[in-house]
C-alpha cells in the first residue's frame, strides 16, 4: 500500500512540472514582438499570342484517339492451336460438410428446374421494349388475336333484343399446339337456345386460331358471349 501511494504522489509532481513547462513556453512565445511577413514572388515573363498564329499542340484540347489495332501477335495467339482455352466455369469444390438433406434438396431443385420453361431470350421483343416482351404481354396479344378470330364468326339471330340475353352464355374450349380448337363445350346457358347456339357456333366455325407462341400459358379459354 505504501509503495502505491509513493508512486501516485511522484506522478502528480511530474505532471505538475510538465504543465508548468508548457505554460512558460507558450507565454514566452506570445510575449516576443512579431516581425512583418514578407513574401518573395518570382515573376514569369509571358508573350502575347497573335490571332491567326497556329497554336502549339500542347495547348489544344486533347482528342481521344481510336483504340490502336491489336498487335499482330494477338491474332497469332488466337489462331495458335496449342493455346489453351480459358476455363468457362470455375471447378466446383464440393463441401464435405454439406449434409445429405441439403444435397437431396439441391438435387430435387435441379430436377424441377429442368421441367420449367427456359427463360425467354434477351433479344427480340414483340412490343419493342428493350427489356423484351413479358409473358403477360405475349398472352394478352395472343388472346386478342383469338378474340378477333372468334368475333368474325359470332353472329346473333337478327331482331334479337338485348333483353333476350339476360345472362351471357359461356363456352369453353382447349387450344392445341397447332392452334386447333377442341373440346368445345357450353358451360353456361343464357336460357335462349338460339343465343347459346350462336356462342358455340362462334368457336365451332373458327375451328383454328394462331398457334400459341413459345412460352404461352394459354391452353384454352372461357368465352362469355354478350350482344
Amino acid at each position: 500500500m505504501r509503495r502505491g501511494s509513493r508512486r501516485s504522489f511522484s506522478g502528480l509532481l511530474i505532471t505538475l512540472a510538465l504543465h508548468g513547462i508548457i505554460f512558460w513556453t507558450v507565454k514566452t512565445a506570445h510575449s516576443r514582438p512579431q516581425e512583418p511577413l514578407i513574401v518573395q514572388r518570382d515573376f514569369v515573363q509571358a508573350e502575347m499570342v497573335k490571332l491567326g498564329k497556329p497554336r502549339d499542340k500542347f495547348w489544344l484540347p486533347k482528342v481521344h484517339a481510336a483504340p490502336p489495332p491489336p498487335p499482330p501477335d494477338a491474332i497469332k495467339l488466337a489462331d495458335d492451336p496449342n493455346a489453351k482455352a480459358a476455363p468457362v466455369e470455375a471447378p466446383k469444390i464440393e463441401d464435405p460438410k454439406t449434409s445429405k438433406d441439403v444435397r437431396r434438396a439441391l438435387e430435387r431443385a435441379q430436377k424441377l428446374s429442368a421441367l420449367a420453361v427456359p427463360d425467354e431470350p434477351d433479344e427480340g421483343s414483340l412490343t419493342g421494349s428493350k427489356s423484351g416482351t413479358s409473358d403477360h404481354e405475349i398472352g394478352d396479344q395472343y388472346i386478342a388475336s383469338i378474340k378477333g378470330a372468334l368475333l368474325q364468326n359470332y353472329n346473333l339471330p337478327a331482331g334479337m333484343n338485348a333483353d333476350q340475353i339476360p345472362t351471357p352464355p359461356m363456352v369453353r374450349f382447349r387450344i392445341a399446339t397447332d392452334g386447333t380448337l377442341s373440346d368445345i363445350k357450353l358451360t353456361k346457358t343464357s336460357g335462349n337456345p338460339l343465343v347459346d347456339d350462336a356462342c358455340v357456333s362462334a368457336a365451332q366455325l373458327t375451328r383454328r386460331v394462331p398457334p400459341p407462341p413459345p412460352g404461352s400459358k394459354v391452353h384454352g379459354l372461357n368465352v362469355a358471349c354478350e350482344k
Binding site: 463441401d95 460438410k97 454439406t98 449434409s99 438433406d101 441439403v102 434438396a105 439441391l106 430435387r108 431443385a109 435441379q110 430436377k111 424441377l112 428446374s113 421441367l115 420449367a116 420453361v117 398472352g139 388472346i143 383469338i146 378474340k147 372468334l150 368475333l151 359470332y154 353472329n155 346473333l156 339471330p157 337478327a158 331482331g159 334479337m160 333484343n161 333483353d163 333476350q164 351471357p168 369453353r172 337456345p193 338460339l194 347459346d196 347456339d197 350462336a198 356462342c199 358455340v200 362462334a202 400459358k217 394459354v218 391452353h219 384454352g220 379459354l221 372461357n222 368465352v223 362469355a224 358471349c225 354478350e226 350482344k227
Partner: protein, 435 residues
C-alpha cells in the same frame, strides 16, 4: 467455432429451400391448367345472322296453303333464311309432327316449323335444333281462313325468337293505278287479299292510316281540287274532310288520332296546319315561312313533326315541335330529300325518307336522329325507290319502286321482298292487328 460452422450449413438449407420453391412454382405454371383456371374473355359486338329455317310439308287438307303462307311470312320478316324444301330428304318430308334434331342438323336447319292444318284450324310447333327434340313453341289456332291462323302463328314465332311480336295481319294501303285514274287500295303485308277501298273516279293518292287502323285519310281530285277525304279501311263511301282552296295534301294522323297534320295552301303559300279529322276544322298553323313546307309526319310520342321545306334552298327534312315552331334542319346531304316518316318506335329515333342522289336516282335513306348518321338502305342499281313507310313494329320498311310494285325491306339484314307486283305509289303501313 460452432457458430462459424453452423452459419453456412443453415445458409445452405435456406438456399436449397428457396431453389426448391422457385423450381416447384415454375413446374406448376407449366402444368396444364384446369378448366376453371383458363383465361376468360368476353365477346361483344356480335354480327347479325338470318336463322336457317325449315318449313317442311304440313299435314292436313290446308297443309299446302299453310306452308306457302308461312314460308312467305318468314321470308318477309328478313329474320330467317327459308331453306328450299327440295333439299330435305324424303325421311324428313314424311316426318309428320315428330321431330329429330339429329336429322335436321344434317340439313343445316337451325329452326324447324311443323304444322298440321285442316280448314281454318292450325296446330303448330317450333323446334330449335340446338335445343333438341322438344318444341320451343307449340300452339293451336282456329280462324275462318287458314292464312289468318298462319299469320298468328308467324307472329308468335317472331315473338319467341326475337322477344318482339310480329305484325302479320297488318295491311298496307297505297295509291294504285286503275282504269285511267288512281284509287286507294290495300293489301296484307305479304301482298295477299288485295282490296280497292275507293271508287272516286279520279286521282286519289297519299293514303294515311289512322292510329287505330279503322280509317284512311287520302287526297283526291274528285271535286277538281286536291281535297282531303277519309274512308273506312274496309272501303266504302269516303267523306270529304278538308276542302280548303288549293292543296289539302300529305295527311299524318297524330298518335292519339285527334288531329291530322297536313299541307294547306289556302293562304297562298304551302304551310303545315293541324285540323280536326271530324270536320276539317283548322286547329292551328304550325309553320310560318315564305318557303314551301309540306309532307308532315308525327313522331311516335306526338311531340314532334318532321316535314319538308325548301326554306334554306333545296328541299330538306326539318323537325319541329308538334305545336309549331323550333324548326331544325336534320338532313344536310343531298339536294332533294322528301317524304319523311318517323319510325313508330319511341326507342328508335329514326326518320326514313326519299332522297335523290347525284345521279338523279331516288332511293330510301334512314336518318338516325341520335347520331345524325344517314344510311342508304336499298342497294343501288335497283331502280328508284320511293316513299318509305315503317311497319308498326319499326322493324321493316315498305316502299314503291320503279321496278314495279311494293317492296318490304329489313334494314338490319338488308333483306328485300317484293310483296305486290301491281302499280303502286305512296304506301302507308297500317297498325298491327289486335290480338
Amino acid at each position: 467455432m460452432q457458430k462459424v460452422i453452423g452459419q453456412p450449413r443453415w445458409a445452405g438449407v435456406l438456399a436449397a429451400s428457396i431453389l426448391l420453391t422457385a423450381a416447384t412454382g415454375a413446374a406448376r405454371a407449366e402444368t396444364p391448367a384446369g378448366d376453371e383456371d383458363l383465361p376468360a374473355i368476353t365477346l361483344s359486338g356480335a354480327g347479325v345472322q338470318m336463322l336457317r329455317l325449315a318449313v317442311p310439308r304440313a299435314e292436313g287438307d290446308s297443309g299446302a296453303a299453310a306452308v306457302e303462307t308461312m314460308s312467305k311470312d318468314m321470308d318477309i320478316t328478313g329474320l330467317f333464311q327459308v331453306l328450299d324444301p327440295a333439299s330435305f330428304p324424303a325421311q324428313l318430308q314424311s316426318e309428320g309432327m315428330a321431330f329429330s334434331s339429329a336429322l335436321w342438323t344434317q340439313v343445316g336447319a337451325q329452326v324447324v316449323i311443323k304444322m298440321k292444318a285442316s280448314g281454318g284450324a292450325l296446330e303448330g310447333k317450333v323446334f330449335v335444333v340446338a335445343r333438341g327434340d322438344t318444341p320451343t313453341l307449340a300452339k293451336s289456332y282456329r280462324n275462318a281462313d287458314i292464312r289468318d291462323a298462319v299469320h298468328e302463328f308467324a307472329n308468335d314465332i317472331v315473338l319467341s325468337t326475337t322477344g318482339r311480336r310480329g305484325v302479320f295481319g297488318s295491311r298496307i294501303a297505297f295509291a294504285m293505278s286503275g282504269h285511267g285514274s288512281h284509287e286507294i287500295g290495300s293489301v296484307d303485308m305479304d301482298g295477299g287479299r288485295m282490296a280497292a277501298l275507293t271508287k272516286m273516279g279520279s286521282d286519289s293518292l297519299l293514303p294515311a292510316y289512322s292510329p287505330g287502323g279503322a280509317e284512311i285519310a287520302f287526297t283526291s281530285y274528285a271535286r277538281n281540287n286536291p281535297d282531303l277525304w277519309i274512308v273506312s279501311s274496309g272501303g266504302g263511301r269516303a267523306r270529304r274532310v278538308s276542302k280548303q282552296p288549293g292543296l289539302n295534301t300529305g295527311a299524318s294522323w297524330s298518335p292519339d288520332g285527334r288531329s291530322i297534320a297536313l299541307t294547306l295552301s289556302h293562304e297562298g303559300n304551302s304551310e303545315i296546319y293541324r285540323i280536326s279529322p271530324d270536320d276539317g276544322r283548322i286547329l292551328g298553323r304550325l309553320t310560318q315561312s315564305p318557303a314551301i313546307d309540306s309532307s308532315p309526319s308525327y313522331s311516335p310520342d306526338g311531340s314532334q313533326i318532321a316535314f319538308v321545306s325548301n326554306r334554306q334552298g333545296s328541299p330538306q327534312i326539318f323537325v319541329m315541335s308538334s305545336s309549331g315552331g323550333g324548326a331544325k334542319r336534320v338532313t344536310f346531304q343531298g339536294k332533294y330529300n322528301q317524304t319523311p316518316r318517323f319510325c313508330p318506335r319511341t326507342d328508335k329515333p329514326q326518320i326514313a325518307f326519299t332522297g335523290r342522289d347525284e345521279k338523279g336516282v331516288f332511293d330510301v335513306f334512314i336518318l338516325d336522329l341520335k347520331t345524325s348518321r344517314i344510311d342508304r338502305i336499298v342497294p343501288q342499281a335497283k331502280g328508284s325507290n320511293l316513299d318509305p313507310t315503317w311497319s308498326p313494329d319499326g322493324r321493316l320498311l315498305a316502299y314503291t319502286s320503279t321496278r314495279g310494285g311494293l317492296f318490304v325491306y329489313n334494314p338490319e339484314t338488308h333483306h328485300e321482298v317484293q310483296v305486290w307486283k301491281g302499280a303502286a305509289s305512296s304506301p302507308s303501313w297500317g297498325p298491327a292487328p289486335r290480338r
